[in-house]
């Protein structure tokens, strides 16, 4: 099963390398990893998506917790969360199909951020399902380039 871990770490050089190295040498699989500063500048938050059963995730969390620079590990898989990924996608868009693509963009509430002579760049945010749906809808037109971030997530309500 896929788990989402929110890991608070000291904003020190080498932290990311330590976390990534830990996963590599213990044989855990990272599906995605996003890291960035938090409201406290000395603390960064790493959002990790990891594949594994309960036992594996428990070990992952414990091993992360042992790291000197790790402050807290939260498994937020079963919590009510808001999740987002960012997608940039360059799609072939010759004049005859442009209108159709723009309608799809409208429906998914994405944005066109660049217009070329024969292509468009589309920016979208959303959860995994929405991102997948957008990609699927635009596939028939010919996707020339695609880049996406991993997922960031936040638990709903007061915490």
């Amino acid at each position: 099963m896929r788990h989402t871990l929110a890991v608070l770490v000291e904003n020190h050089p080498g932290v990311l390398s330590r976390v990534a190295g830990l996963f590599a040498r213990r044989g855990y699989n990272i599906e995605s990893l996003v890291v960035g500063e938090t409201e406290d500048k000395t603390v960064s938050r790493i959002t990790l998506v990891v594949e594994g059963d309960e036992k594996v995730i428990e070990q992952v969390s414990k091993q992360l917790n042992k790291q000197v620079d790790v402050i807290k590990v939260n498994d937020i898989t079963n919590e009510e969360t808001v999740e987002r990924q960012l997608l940039l996608l360059k799609v072939a868009a010759d004049p005859p199909v442009r209108q159709e693509i723009m309608q799809i963009v409208e429906i998914f509430r994405c944005r066109i951020v660049d217009i070329g002579r024969r292509s468009l760049i589309i920016e979208a945010t959303g959860d995994e399902e929405k991102i997948q749906a957008i990609i699927k809808s635009l596939q028939p037109f010919g996707i020339q380039e695609l880049v996406r971030t991993g997922k960031v997530a936040m638990v709903r309500g007061q915490k």
């Binding site: 000291e10 050089p13 080498g14 414990k62 402050i71």
Partner: protein
């Protein structure tokens, strides 16, 4: 005050008396200060010798070992020793010099990213890139190495940080950890443990290295006196209870004693303290005593449920746990009615004693046994890695309190000699007995110069079987006796070699000489080397084949079909 002076002062304030190291370009500014300080610096003949000596010192004293090396090759030569300390949870502070700040990342002369290299084998590693980080980093590094589950920490210090000046007008606040507490602490679990132990018909204590690391030997002894529970130990836990104590059944695992392994297979409640259930103890984790309830106490939460299933996990320091458990047992007035269990155990001890043939050739066990007879349990026993390590573990009953020093987790050949030097420096006035092999001994043989210079009372017994015994044994048992590159066709004459270094040397070739030569060696003051020409084909038995159950022991015990039938 410059960085180097600050570091020396810091070490002095922490009570460090001995450091081990080897100078080089990047650390000359540090040595310049160190050489004028009150710290005693031991110049080894290789950085690996320095780190193992610091490790041996730490194991013998409980205080962190400190070692120093220069940048690049100096630092990378520490890596094996750091990994060795990491796997055995030994507190160690490694200080390495680094090229100047401006040169970092430019492949400068003698530059290596030692912080990156040691990341997976340290509790933490630091690169100090700013003068103002030096004081807090030193403090935190010391804390990390010596608290919780102990382990090695590396601080990489660029040359200009040694020479830059530390602003002493500023306060450097101590480190406040932002981590929370862990559930499964002792308070929550104690009632469950009591209930589980009370119902046990065949309870057994498994004492690991954590008992020794938490200095809980006295508490374990008290618990055993009160409860009469039988105790087995892991390899790292050897000496957690004095081995001549009747409740101590000895080591379990791959080459454990038969009665200890049988007790482990047959127990219904296992109280495991300070052990990580290594594969050398469990075999295949799924097959490991499936019928028994397992209470697992460890200071490192990550060890609980890592390798085996655990019924009652407890995050706790070994000593604290034993104190509270004994108190609770006394308050509840619980006594254990385990006479039947004990008679079963005693029956195994009688039926399957450790044994070997003493003649006609010289047997390695014979030498170990005779040294044990004569030197007794008041000495520090150190080993290298290989067959001799296990002959020592099996045939030398040690006295407890940090009296057995060996590379358990990493199995580092070449550990013995420098570790014996470090142990001897940590415990002056005590005799150190080192058992090594012709293979291991040659891996850090350069430290004979260090030993000769220091004239430490280290008695070295080289069990020379002219081969890499443990490799040869596995090849015999599992690779159709194809002895690929495990037999030494050429070895130096170790007696003459010792004499070149100015160390007294003796030789044993005949079993009849053992008693006399051992006595002569132990009488000799200062270092002495005894080369023992032992039988090449001797194997370490019993042996649980890799992945086997604790009761599936090869060796003479194999024929006694009873053992393999118990399950």
């Amino acid at each position: 005050m410059n960085g180097a002076q600050y570091i020396v002062k810091f070490l002095e304030n922490k009570g460090v008396d001995v450091v081990f190291g080897y100078p080089g370009g990047a650390v000359i500014p540090f040595y310049d200060v160190l050489g004028r300080s009150s710290l005693r610096h031991i110049l080894t003949r290789h950085e690996q010798g320095a780190v193992h000596a610091a490790d041996g010192y730490a194991r013998a004293t409980g205080k962190p070992g400190v070692c120093i090396a220069t940048s690049g090759p100096g630092a990378t030569n520490l890596v094996t020793g750091i990994a060795n300390a990491y796997l055995d949870s030994v507190p160690l502070l490694a200080i390495t010099g680094q090229v100047g700040l401006d040169s970092i990342g430019r492949d400068a002369f003698q530059e290596a990213d030692i912080m990156g290299i040691t990341m997976p084998v340290t509790k933490h590693s630091y690169l100090v890139k700013d003068m103002k980080h030096l004081p807090p980093v030193l403090e935190e590094a010391w804390n990390v190495a010596t608290t919780g589950r102990k382990g090695p920490v590396l601080i990489d210090i660029p040359k200009d940080i040694f020479m830059g000046s530390v602003d002493l007008t500023k306060a450097y606040p101590g480190i406040t950890t932002r981590k929370g507490n862990h559930k499964n602490g002792l308070e929550n679990q104690l009632p469950k443990i009591m209930a589980c132990l009370t119902e046990a018909k065949k309870p057994l204590i498994l004492a690991g290295g954590g008992v020794i690391a938490s200095q809980a030997w006295e508490q374990l002894l008290q618990l055993v006196r009160y409860t009469n529970l039988p105790v087995v130990t892991t390899f790292m836990g050897k000496g957690a209870l004095p081995e001549n104590h009747p409740a101590c059944l000895g080591i379990v695992g791959m080459h454990g004693l038969p009665a200890a392994n049988l007790a482990l297979s047959e127990c219904d409640v296992l109280l495991a303290i300070g052990t990580r259930f290594s594969d050398r103890v469990t075999g295949k984790p799924r097959n490991f005593i499936p019928h028994a309830q397992i209470i697992h106490v460890d200071i490192d939460p990550a060890e609980l449920c890592k390798n085996i299933r655990t019924d009652i996990p407890v995050v706790c320091d070994g000593q604290k746990f034993l104190v509270h458990l004994l108190k609770a047992l006394k308050e509840a007035n619980i006594c254990f009615q385990i006479e039947d269990w004990w008679s079963e155990i005693k029956n195994w001890q009688k039926k399957y004693p450790m044994k070997y043939e003493k003649c006609p050739n010289l047997k390695p066990q014979h030498v170990v046994e005779e040294v044990a007879n004569q030197a007794g349990d008041k000495v520090i026993v150190v080993t290298d890695v290989g067959q001799h390590q296990w002959f020592t573990a099996q045939y030398y009953p040690v006295g407890g309190k940090r009296s057995f020093i060996s590379s358990g987790g990493l199995g580092t050949m070449g550990f013995g000699l420098p570790a014996a030097i470090g142990a001897s420096l940590g415990r002056p006035g005590e005799m150190v007995v080192l058992f090594t092999g012709d293979g291991s001994f040659q891996m850090n043989i350069q430290e004979l110069a260090t030993l000769a210079q220091l004239q430490l009372p280290v008695k070295i017994f080289i069990l020379n079987n002219a081969c890499l015994g443990m490799v040869r044994q596995w090849q015999e048992l599992f690779f159709d006796r194809h002895y690929a590159h495990s037999l030494f066709n050429y070895n130096p004459d170790f007696v003459r070699l010792a004499e070149v270094y100015g160390i007294k040397a003796l030789k044993i070739t005949d079993p009849k000489e053992v008693t006399g030569v051992v006595a002569q060696a132990l009488r000799t003051s200062g270092p002495v080397i005894v080369e023992c020409m032992v039988e090449s084909g001797e194997n370490v038995f019993p042996m649980v084949p890799p992945g086997g159950r604790p009761n599936e022991m090869l060796g003479r015990w194999q024929d006694e079909a009873h053992i393999s039938r118990i399950s």
